[in-house]
C-alpha cells in the first residue's frame, strides 16, 4: 500500500519571524536575523553572532499560552508555537488534532536549561523555580511536553539525527501515512540556541565570525540560529474534506548515510547525489523537471563544495536555480529540515525563489551560481530540499506544487 502524502499547513518561528507571514516578509525583503545574542548568556557574545529569536523565555511562554516557570524548555516553547500555527493553518479540528501523530526532532532539547542550572540542579539542598527543569535535558522530553499541551497523545516519536533531524521527522511521518498507518501527522523539529551548540561548532572551527556566505569562494563557516517548524501531512483521501487545500505534495524523499566521516560529508558529494536521485525516482520526475533547489548550503568549506559537486553531478549544465536560506535564519541545526521545508511551501504559495545573501564570488572548483536576487513568478512546480548532518545523515525531500 502506498498512499500519496500532502502538506496542508505549516507553522514556523525563527529569528526572522514569529510565524509564517513574518518569515515570508523577511525573506522577501532580504532581512537576515543575524546579530548579537541578547538572551543566551555566553562569553562569546561579542565575537560570535547568531540568528536569535528576539523573545525572552517568558515572552515565548505567553506566545505558547503556557505558564511561565513551569519547566518548559525554550526548545519546547518554540515547538509548541510552530506546531500550533501548523494545526491552525491546516484547519484541523480538536478531534483531528488529538487523533493525529506527532513527530518532533531535536538534538539540544533542554540542554540550554541544563547548562544554565547545571550545579543548582545537582545540589540536593537547592530550591527555586529552576527545579522545574529537572530531567528536561534529553530530546524526548520536548515531544512529550508538546503532546501534553497540544493534546496529541495517540502516537509520538522523537528523531535525532543531527542537522538532518527535522527532514527525517517529515520523512517518517510521510511513511506512516503512505503505508496506511496514519491519516494525519504533524512533523517537524525544534532547536533553541545553547552554549553547548555554539561552543561545539566553535570547537570544530566551523563558525564564521561574520555573515555566512554559502557557495562563495571566500566562505568561512556557518552562522548558528534557532527555530522550529512543523508541517501538517495528510493522506490523499482527506483532500476531499470541505475547506481542505493542500499546498504541496511530498512526492519523493530519501534518507541514507554518507558513510564517509563522523562530522564531514564525502568530498565528492556522493551521499547527497544518491539521496537526490532517489527522491526524484520516487517522485517519478527527471532532473530537468526540478525548478528550484533549497540547498543545505551552510557556508562551511566542506559542505558547500561537497553539495555543489553533488548537484553538478546530478544536473550537469542544466542546473536549476538554487539557493541557501541559511543566511536569513542561521543554521537552525535539528530544525533546519522543517524550517526550509516551510520556506519551500512559501515559495509555492508566492511562486517565489528566495535568494542567497552575502554571495559575491563563485567557488573556483565549480562554475555554479546561486540565486542572488528575489525571483517572483518563478514558475515553481517541483522543489528539492536537502539536509545533511553529522554522523553521515543525508536527506532529500521533493515537493510538488498543488
Amino acid at each position: 500500500m502506498s498512499r500519496r502524502v500532502f502538506i496542508t499547513g505549516y507553522g514556523i518561528i525563527t529569528a526572522i519571524g514569529n510565524n509564517g507571514p513574518e518569515n515570508f516578509a523577511s525573506l522577501r525583503n532580504k532581512r537576515s536575523g543575524y546579530g548579537r545574542l541578547d538572551f543566551l548568556q555566553t562569553l562569546h557574545r561579542d565575537e560570535i553572532y547568531c540568528c536569535e529569536i528576539k523573545l525572552s523565555d517568558d515572552e515565548l511562554c505567553r506566545h505558547a499560552r503556557v505558564p511561565t516557570r513551569a519547566g518548559f524548555s525554550r526548545t519546547t516553547l518554540l515547538g509548541i508555537i510552530a506546531a500550533r500555527e501548523a494545526i491552525d493553518s491546516a484547519g484541523l479540528t480538536k478531534a483531528e488534532t488529538s487523533g493525529a501523530g506527532l513527530i518532533s526532532a531535536t538534538t539540544a532539547g533542554g540542554i540550554r536549561e541544563l547548562e544554565s542550572y547545571y550545579y543548582e540542579l545537582q545540589n540536593p539542598e537547592s530550591s527555586g523555580d529552576f527545579l522545574a527543569f529537572l530531567d528536561t535535558g534529553d530530546p524526548g522530553e520536548h515531544t512529550e511536553r508538546m503532546a501534553d499541551i497540544l493534546n496529541m497523545k495517540k502516537y509520538l516519536a522523537t528523531v535525532s539525527t543531527a542537522c538532518a533531524s527535522a527532514a527525517n521527522s517529515i520523512i517518517f511521518g510521510a511513511r506512516l501515512i503512505a503505508n496506511g498507518l496514519a491519516d494525519v501527522m504533524i512533523c517537524g523539529g525544534s532547536e533553541a540556541l545553547s552554549k553547548v551548540t555554539i561552543n561545539g561548532f566553535n570547537s570544530l572551527k566551523i563558525l564564521d565570525r561574520n555573515l555566512c556566505k554559502p557557495f562563495d569562494q571566500n566562505r568561512n563557516g556557518l552562522n548558528l540560529g534557532e527555530g522550529a517548524a512543523f508541517l501538517v501531512l495528510e493522506a490523499e483521501e482527506r483532500l476531499g474534506y470541505p475547506g481542505k487545500n493542500a499546498i504541496a505534495e511530498l512526492c519523493g524523499y530519501a534518507s541514507l548515510n554518507d558513510a564517509f566521516h563522523q562530522t564531514a560529508s564525502s568530498p565528492d558529494g556522493s551521499g547527497a547525489l544518491k539521496a537526490m536521485q532517489k527522491a526524484l525516482t520516487m517522485g517519478g520526475i527527471a532532473p530537468e523537471d526540478v525548478d528550484y533547489i533549497n540547498a543545505h548550503g551552510t557556508g562551511t568549506e566542506n559542505n558547500d563544495l561537497s553539495e555543489g559537486l553533488s548537484v553538478k553531478a546530478l544536473f550537469g549544465d542544466q542546473l536549476p536555480p538554487f539557493s541557501s536560506t541559511k543566511p536569513y535564519t542561521g543554521h537552525t541545526t535539528s530544525a533546519a529540515g522543517s524550517v526550509e521545508a516551510a520556506f519551500c511551501l512559501m515559495g509555492f504559495e508566492h511562486d517565489t525563489i528566495f535568494p542567497t545573501l552575502n554571495f559575491s564570488q563563485p567557488m573556483e572548483e565549480l562554475d555554479i551560481l546561486p540565486v542572488t536576487e528575489l525571483r517572483q513568478g518563478a514558475g515553481l512546480g517541483y522543489i528539492l530540499s536537502n539536509s545533511l548532518g553529522f554522523g553521515g545523515s543525508t536527506t532529500s525531500l521533493l515537493f510538488a506544487k498543488c
Binding site: M1, L43, H44, T107, I111, L114, E115, Y118, Y119, L121, Q122, P124, L134, D135, G137, D138, P139, G140, T143, E144, A147, D148, K153, K154, Y155, L156, A157, T158, V159, S160, T161, A162, N168, F172, R175, L176, A178, N179, L181, A182, K195, V196, N199, G200, N202, S203, L204, S255, N257, A259, F260, Q262, T263, G271, K274, G389, F390, G391, G392, S393
Partner: protein
C-alpha cells in the same frame, strides 16, 4: 498505532546485548546473576578488542565502544556483514561525553574545549559509526524519544520491510547510567531513596526503581533463516493512558488485531521496574489477563533505563529460541508445562510510556 497487525512475518535473526549481566556471550543464558548494592547497575563489558579494530578504539567513548561491540556481536550472530539499514534508539544519548563537554564549558569559561566530546555526543553518532564501520550507505536513522525510542526504531524497521526498502535491518538501543541523570531521578523520586539490592528489587515494595543501563542490537529481517531466533509479530505503544480500563482496551485491541487473545500468551514479560507506585498497572494487567502465563521479570537484572524494553525483547526472543525460562527471571515457581510459543513483552517507562511487543516461536 498498530503496525503489522496480522501482516507479514518479521524475524529476529541475531542479537548482541551488553547489560549489567553477562549477556554478550550468545552461547550462554543468564547462568548466574550479578548483585549490585548501590542502586546503580552498570554493564559487564566484553573485551572490546574482540570487536573493534585498534585504530578505531582509541578515539571512541565507552558508550560508543559498547554500542559498536553489541552491533558487531549481533552482526556475527546473524551471520551478516552489512545490513541494508541501521536504526538506533536512545533515551538520553551520550550523557558522559555531553557531560564532559558541558563541564568544560562551565569550568574553562568556554575556552579550549575538546571537540571530540561534542562530535561523539550527537545522538546519531553510533548509527553513523556503525554505518562507517560496516560501509552501510543505506537508510540510517536515530530515535531519541525516551520510553518510545526503541519502539519507534522497530516501527521504522517494519515500515522498511513493508516498503521493500530493506531485507535486513540492524536495530539497536543504547543508554548509559550517568550521575547527572541519577541526581535528577533521585530528586524526582524516580530512583529508590534507600539502598536496595537488585536481587531484592521486587521484594522492596517501595517507591522508585534502580538506575540501569545497556545496549541491545537485533538483526530484524523479513527472511526466516535456520538460525532465526523468533518471529517479531507486532508492537504497540500507549502514551500516558488516562486510566486502567483504557490501557486494558489498548492491550486487548492489540492482541485482537493480531488474531489472538490474552489466553494465547504463554509468557508474560513484565517490564515492571520495582517501583511500587508506577508498576501498579503492569501488575494489574498481569493479574487481570495473564494469570495462566509464566511471568518473567527483568529489571532486577538491568535496572531501569529509557530503552530497557529492548532487553525485554531480547529476553523474550531468547526464551522462544531455546524454549527455556531461566530461574533468575521467573516471578514465581513455574506452574504448568505449557509450551512456550507466544511471548508478550509489556513494558512501561516511568509510568508514562507503555509498550507491547508480541513475539512468536518459529
Amino acid at each position: 498505532m498498530l503496525i503489522n497487525g496480522n501482516g507479514m512475518d518479521i524475524y529476529i535473526n541475531g542479537a548482541g546485548v551488553i547489560s549489567p549481566q553477562q549477556t554478550y556471550d550468545n552461547e550462554i543464558f543468564l547462568p548466574e546473576v550479578t548483585e549490585y548494592g548501590g542502586n546503580v547497575l552498570t554493564c559487564i563489558l566484553p573485551d572490546f578488542k574482540n570487536y573493534i579494530k585498534p585504530f578505531q578504539m582509541r578515539r571512541l567513548s565507552r558508550m560508543l565502544r559498547m554500542g559498536l561491540s553489541a552491533a558487531t556481536i549481533c552482526l556475527r550472530n546473524a551471520r551478516l556483514e552489512t545490513p541494508d539499514a541501521i536504526i538506533t534508539a536512545t533515551g538520553y544519548g551520550f550523557q558522559e561525553d555531553m557531560g564532559k563537554f558541558l563541564l568544560e564549558i562551565l569550568e574553562q569559561d568556554e575556552q579550549q574545549l575538546t571537540p571530540t566530546y561534542f562530535m561523539q555526543s550527537t545522538h546519531n553518532a553510533l548509527s553513523g559509526l556503525i554505518a562507517l564501520t560496516v560501509k552501510c550507505m543505506g537508510y540510517n536513522n536515530t530515535y531519541a524519544g525516551r520510553g518510545f525510542a526503541f519502539e519507534t526504531a522497530v516501527h521504522d524497521a517494519m515500515l522498511l520491510f513493508l516498503e521493500k526498502e530493506a531485507e535486513n535491518v540492524l536495530v539497536g538501543s543504547f543508554d548509559q547510567a550517568h550521575r547527572v541523570q541519577y541526581s535528577d531521578y533521585a530528586r524526582l523520586g524516580y530512583v529508590k531513596k534507600e539502598k536496595t539490592s537488585n536481587l531484592k528489587l521486587f521484594k522492596s515494595r517501595t517507591k522508585g526503581t534502580l538506575q540501569g543501563e545497556g545496549t541491545a542490537f537485533f538483526m530484524i529481517s523479513c527472511q526466516a533463516l535456520p538460525h532465526s531466533w523468533c518471529i517479531l509479530k507486532s508492537l504497540h505503544t500507549v502514551y500516558r493512558p488516562t486510566d486502567f480500563p483504557f490501557l486494558c482496551e489498548e492491550l486487548t485491541g492489540f492482541l485482537r488485531a493480531n488474531g489472538i487473545g490474552p489466553e494465547d500468551v504463554d509468557v508474560f514479560v513484565n517490564g515492571a521496574s520495582g517501583d511500587i507506585a508506577r508498576d501498579k498497572w503492569n501488575m494489574e494487567l498481569r493479574k487481570t489477563f495473564f494469570g495462566h502465563a509464566a511471568e518473567v521479570l527483568f529489571k532486577h537484572l538491568t535496572g531501569e533505563y529509557a530503552t530497557a524494553s529492548s532487553f525485554g525483547v531480547w529476553l523474550g526472543a531468547k526464551i522462544l529460541k531455546i524454549r527455556t525460562i531461566p530461574e533468575s527471571v521467573l516471578a514465581g515457581p513455574a506452574t504448568s508445562d505449557r509450551l512456550i510459543r507466544t511471548v508478550l513483552v509489556c513494558n512501561h517507562f516511568l509510568g508514562r510510556n507503555y509498550s507491547f511487543f508480541l513475539l512468536k516461536a518459529l
